[in-house]
């Protein structure tokens, strides 16, 4: 395929922090997203994981245009989205929709489910009014809700049901890409599974692409074809799901994966965990070189061997050779100066 369906290049989002006085200049800049690049094909789902504050939600919001990007480009079907105004956006709203995190806050409490679902159709002038009602019924049916509840209000539904309404609203415009911003993190675990299965079924049925933001690795593993790991506004590793979960390359990814508890107590007791020391550094004042080096177990253990590169040079996200014959075909990108060594020499952990 010549042009990727969604192409994000060097996306940056900077928030000014702490204005001095009424008209003063901002005291500091918070680089929430700092040079994120990735592509997404039609029908594919890409997961973005990371700790809170790593910029994954900001990335999602920049893509749907809720936070205008500071710099960089976002292209959907080859069309640049960052320079569009509201009117210019309208046709792309139909291709690009969003599911929100909080099922309690994302539905207007004063509107019925029917009008919530009909609103996108009305704004875009799709269908005749009579057909709109039939479509809202079909939407409710498609997300597993009883169509008889069309005249009910959001507060009359449970959290999981509300999230289904949010999904139905995103489906109403028949989008090709849905950005899901932590769609299940506010739900009970049992409900999470239902919603994730629904999302997978919808993807199979309609062939939608998903950009899936989550902090729960198990959730991402369940839904996504490819996974990107973010740390302090940058992507540190981007690989197919199996490659990432089986042979993580970046020390941060390794630490993240080792934080998943195992259900088997024997295996849990035997396995070695990589426990990161300290907190995530402030994005107002990120460390020099590789942002991860102050907490990197590989850097801590092999400081002499690895030298000054980690503290001096910013590692770019680049293809890494894979020794695994199974996942050897799959694309993998790592942002670590020593990615090959980390794997080959078992530098860490």
């Amino acid at each position: 395929m010549s042009t990727p369906f969604l192409e994000v290049r060097d996306l940056c989002k900077v928030f000014p922090v702490g204005r001095a006085g009424l008209l003063g200049k901002p005291r500091a800049e918070l680089r929430a997203v700092d040079g994120v690049s990735f592509t997404l094909e039609r029908g594919e789902s890409l997961g973005i994981v990371g700790e809170s504050g790593c910029g994954k939600s900001t990335t999602a919001r920049a893509i749907v245009g809720l936070h205008p990007a500071t710099s960089g480009s976002i292209k959907l079907d080859g069309v640049e989205l960052t320079t569009l105004d509201r009117r210019g956006w309208l046709p792309y709203r139909r291709k690009l929709q969003m599911i929100f995190q909080d099922p309690y806050g994302s539905l207007d409490p004063r509107q019925t489910v029917g009008s919530i679902l009909a609103e996108p159709l009305a704004i875009h002038g799709l269908l005749k009014p009579r057909d709109r009602k039939l479509r809202t019924l079909a939407l409710l049916d498609a997300v597993g809700l009883n169509p008889r509840h069309i005249h009910r209000y959001p507060h009359e539904f449970s959290g999981g049901q509300r999230q289904r309404i949010g999904i139905a609203r995103a489906l109403a415009l028949e989008p090709e890409l849905i950005v899901c911003d932590e769609p299940v993190s506010a739900l009970d675990v049992s409900i999470q599974a239902q919603i994730l299965n629904l999302l997978r079924d919808l993807q199979e049925r309609f062939g939608i692409a998903f950009l899936f933001i989550a902090h729960d690795l198990a959730v991402v593993r369940h839904v996504c074809h490819r996974v990107a790991v973010m740390y302090l506004g940058r992507m540190v590793e981007l690989a197919s799901r199996d490659a990432l979960f089986e042979t993580p390359r970046h020390p941060y990814t390794q630490a993240l994966l080792s934080a998943i508890p195992l259900a088997d107590p024997v295996a849990e007791a035997e396995r070695r965990r990589v426990v990161l020391k300290g907190d995530v550094p402030s994005p107002l004042d990120p460390p020099s070189g590789c942002a991860f080096h102050p907490r990197c177990p590989a850097y801590a253990a092999h400081r002499d061997e690895l030298g000054e590169r980690c503290t001096r040079d910013l590692p770019a996200l680049g293809p890494a050779a894979s020794e695994n014959p199974v996942s050897g075909q799959q694309l993998r990108e790592v942002a670590c100066h020593w990615a090959a060594d980390v794997h080959a020499r078992r530098v860490a952990p």
Binding site: V64, L137, D141
Partner: protein
């Protein structure tokens, strides 16, 4: 990978189009109304206010004496029981014309007076609540005065509503420096003592009352607007705070993602969600404005005779009080009318706040 393919299963769903099989939802307004009805105090306050409002609205229909018919005696006459003095044939053509000429009622009220004379002829009730020092019937003056008091309260509240909601919603939605500047302006106005501002305005307007009258604007209308312009400050703050907390909520973001325009977001999503707080605040503003009107009339800055308001009635009664004899009915009846209305408004406002509070839902 392949392009998205959209097909919707609609078979079996057509039967829901008629609406017979649909489950009815309960909106937050219906829910609030249901809970307001459960609150006995608030419910009866609402009923009482509806009664006061209809008496006030239908005042010309009642066979009351003219509120300005003088009956000069040495001193105010005490209330008489209906069985002692049921009424008299006093509302004759001359009294009626005198009343119409000095009160200048509008055509609806003239029609209602015509209906009244059609039903009751020239008959009018006795002085069941007593008379004031000039022999005017207290009951009639309370009923006719309620019109002025309620009208001042409603129009000033409406004025504060329009200015406050527009100003506050705009300030909150724009945010940033515009919000900052607009709210500092409100802070500055807050620090100015209201009473001096009103006295200042009213005094100046008194100078130009003839010019205003030529332009078709009565002094009283200006008075309403001046009070409204004082009371919008808190409303602006309340609305701005609400908009500020709502504009970053996810349902507003969701509306932007589906492509809603700014006016649509403001009027379809933001304003209906702010409305419940605004209504509660309004029911608490009305009594404050009524009291303020009474206070201004008391100072001689408000409603002017021959018109009468509850505030003016209080002035008249204090003038009639002397150490030798207390004419209790002069004070008791207007105070009771005003006090019960204010109490009912406060109870209703309190009940509305509870009923509209989503945290209390289901109780």
């Amino acid at each position: 990978m392949s392009k998205a393919r959209w097909t919707w299963k609609t078979e079996g769903l057509e039967r829901f189009l008629s609406g017979d099989e649909l489950i009815k939802g309960e909106s937050l307004w219906q829910d609030a109304w249901r809970r307001l009805k459960l609150n006995r105090g608030a419910y009866w306050s609402l009923m009482f206010l509806a009664l006061v409002a209809s008496i006030s609205l239908l005042a010309p229909l009642f066979p009351l004496p003219s509120p300005m018919a003088l009956d000069l005696q040495d001193e105010p006459q005490a209330p008489v029981m209906p069985w002692d003095s049921f009424g008299a044939h006093g509302f004759d053509e001359a009294t009626k014309n005198h009343f119409i000429d000095s009160w200048e009622p509008n055509f609806v009220d003239r029609a209602l007076i015509a209906v009244r004379t059609g039903i009751f002829g020239d008959w009018q009730t006795g002085h069941w609540l007593g008379t004031d020092s000039k022999g005017r019937d207290i009951a009639s003056r309370i009923v006719w005065g309620s019109r002025v008091s309620i009208l001042v309260a409603l129009s000033a509240t409406l004025c504060s509503l329009i200015i406050g909601v527009t100003y506050g919603a705009f300030s909150g939605y724009m945010g940033g420096r515009i919000d900052n500047a607009m709210m500092r302006f409100v802070d500055v106005l807050y620090s100015v003592p209201f009473i001096f501002v009103v006295i200042f305005f009213v005094t100046i307007l008194n100078e130009y009352r003839h010019e205003l009258a030529d332009a078709g604007i009565g002094y009283i209308h200006v008075f309403y607007v001046v009070i409204g312009m004082i009371y919008w400050l808190t409303m602006a703050r309340v609305v701005r705070g609400q908009v500020l907390s709502l504009k970053n909520s996810e349902f507003i973001e969701a509306a932007r993602v589906i492509g809603a325009s700014t006016p649509r977001i403001l009027f379809v999503h933001l304003v209906p969600n702010v409305l419940s707080v605004v209504i509660v605040y309004l029911t608490l503003t009305i009594p404050a404005i009524m009291l303020f009107e009474a206070f201004l009339s008391f100072l001689g800055l408000g409603v002017e005779p021959p018109k009468v308001s509850w505030g003016l009635l209080a002035v008249d009664s204090t003038e009639a009080i002397n150490p030798i004899k207390t004419f209790w009915w002069l004070i008791a009846w207007p105070a009771a009318a005003m006090g019960s209305t204010l109490l009912a408004l406060n109870i209703l406002g309190d009940g509305l706040r509870d009923a509209l509070d989503p945290k209390l839902r289901g109780r």
